[in-house]
Symmetry: C2
Subunit: 314 residues, 2 copies
């Protein structure tokens, strides 16, 4: 499901480092060379390159990249080159600082990652920021958003295949009742969304649909127009049970905006290429009848465009 293309035969790590170092030397930077190497190495290989680069040239590769590159191209290369757990930690930390529209990023990472992947991000957060994700989210976000986001980033969900059907029916009823009464921030809604396993939630939302005739996301959609918190709830549900649809929507909004939302586009590409980008691409095509790489090419340019297209594996 990952879109990353790693050639069958690749140069040694030492050669990769030498080439990258060359790319930074002399007048100007050889961006094509950077893309050729970094966009076609997996997480373990990039980590190894960073290690050997630091040992050989006495400087963090990320620091060199930061000095040489700029704007959107810089951001995609830096985010991509980071270890996935560290990348999530960096994105989360950014989002705790400017939470206005960025609580979405917290929600996205908390709900689309597996329990283990989220744990690795929290460990990377400890190592890099010398504090916990939980304390930063709790300290910087207030009100209903805090009540939703803190448990979402804290919980260590069960991931087995078991479904308790009685429970699913019971909790579908609880959700429907509070949503009907417009009690969107009711603690029972929050409890169910923030603690149950994704498989269990999937069953619960199915029962909701079967029993009450409308999908839970549809029931929330009307209220979401006027209430950011309801939007967040809807978004959490999509992230939990249909992440590929959630990411397709983020890409669609990012690309179709007047003025591309590079911030979102970069984030989704950097974080999903090694996970489920091919599923997202299929979903994108199904929804837009345009291939994602064509849409991206139409909307971006230069090194940034080349890097994105190399990553999503046109």
């Amino acid at each position: 499901m990952a879109s990353l293309i790693v050639p069958d035969s690749i140069p040694s790590v030492a050669e990769d480092c030498e080439q990258l170092h060359k790319a930074f030397s002399g007048w100007g930077t050889n961006e094509d060379l950077i893309i050729d190497i970094l966009a076609h190495r997996n997480a373990a290989q990039r980590k190894h390159i960073r290690q050997v680069y630091a040992e050989t040239y006495g400087q963090d590769l990320l620091h060199s990249l930061e000095q040489e590159l700029s704007s959107d191209f810089e951001r995609i290369v830096l985010l991509w080159t980071l270890d996935p757990a560290e990348r999530d930690a960096v994105l989360l930390n950014e989002s705790t600082k400017r939470w206005t529209s960025n609580s979405q990023v917290i929600l996205e990472i908390a709900c689309t990652r597996s329990s283990h992947t989220l744990l690795l991000a929290k460990q990377a957060y400890h190592a890099r920021f010398k504090k916990s994700l939980e304390e930063d989210v709790a300290a910087h976000i207030t009100g209903d958003f805090r009540k939703l986001l803190v448990p979402l980033v804290s919980t260590y969900r069960y991931e087995g295949p078991e479904v308790n059907t009685t429970l699913a029916k019971h909790e579908a009823k609880i959700l429907h009742q509070h949503i009907s009464e417009k009690e969107y921030n009711h603690e029972e809604i929050l409890r169910i969304l923030t603690t149950r396993s994704k498989t269990q939630l999937f069953a619960t939302f199915n029962h909701y649909n079967n029993e009450f005739g409308t999908a839970i996301t549809k029931d929330l959609k009307a209220a979401a127009a006027e209430d950011d918190f309801v939007t967040a709830l809807k978004c959490a549900i999509k992230c939990l049970v249909t992440p590929e649809k959630y990411f397709e929507k983020v890409l669609r909004s990012a690309i179709n905006k007047t003025g591309t939302d590079e911030w979102a586009l970069t984030r989704v590409v950097a974080t999903r290429v090694e996970v489920d980008m091919n599923v997202i691409k299929e979903e994108y095509y199904r929804r837009n009848t345009v291939q994602l790489d064509h849409a991206i090419k139409r909307d971006t340019s230069g090194d940034y465009e080349r890097m994105l297209v190399a990553l999503i594996g046109a």
Copy 2:
């Protein structure tokens, strides 16, 4: 700090298993032999014994022990023999079911374990009960207790030595303000207690004491007499910053009761022997001018007594 005594030279695992199997054979059970072996093996050794025993005799050692032993002796042997993470999972699961007075156990485990140890317990909970600790605590406990306990079991605290002094002063003030106004369940109190690192909290409580002239636990003590939730808050604070004092108190209450509280005595011994039992023993002596093993001998009898005393290393 652990009180466990493992002899310098011990029999092979196969011999241990054979001896244990013999102890169960024929008429009656050889309890002394069980104590001699199991009370003097560390977690890794006990795990190995369980593996080899199952391979050799086709039965889980715990199941054999369950069949042969009874009452308090059975419980201490079973709890002790379990892997520490699985033991915590079992204790937590019991407590979500009969939560009346047992929310204390949840609180104790959540606050006295390191982040990593708590994580291992949560993983063991997944494996054994096919669901998450968070969902069980959230589903079975309600009201203010839920608001305290769910984040306590969920959070993955930072454990580095860094202290932010400005923050400690600021949050000491927040705590003092809400406690003065008897808003014990205020979400800011819960936020601070459930997300900050233990080192940071230690500094915060020190500032509280310095700035306002009374320890935070003292300020809570008066209200605790009439309010179980305040008792829980006080208990969480003790568990977080002075666990040895907390455990001394649990042991003291368990032993000095009319009728020993074997449930609590067994739990504390089984869970602390390999961690900090020697510190707890010192604290017990300091507070009661009686050695813990003497107090236990006076209050218990038979195999149960012998097992406890063997474990706490008289």
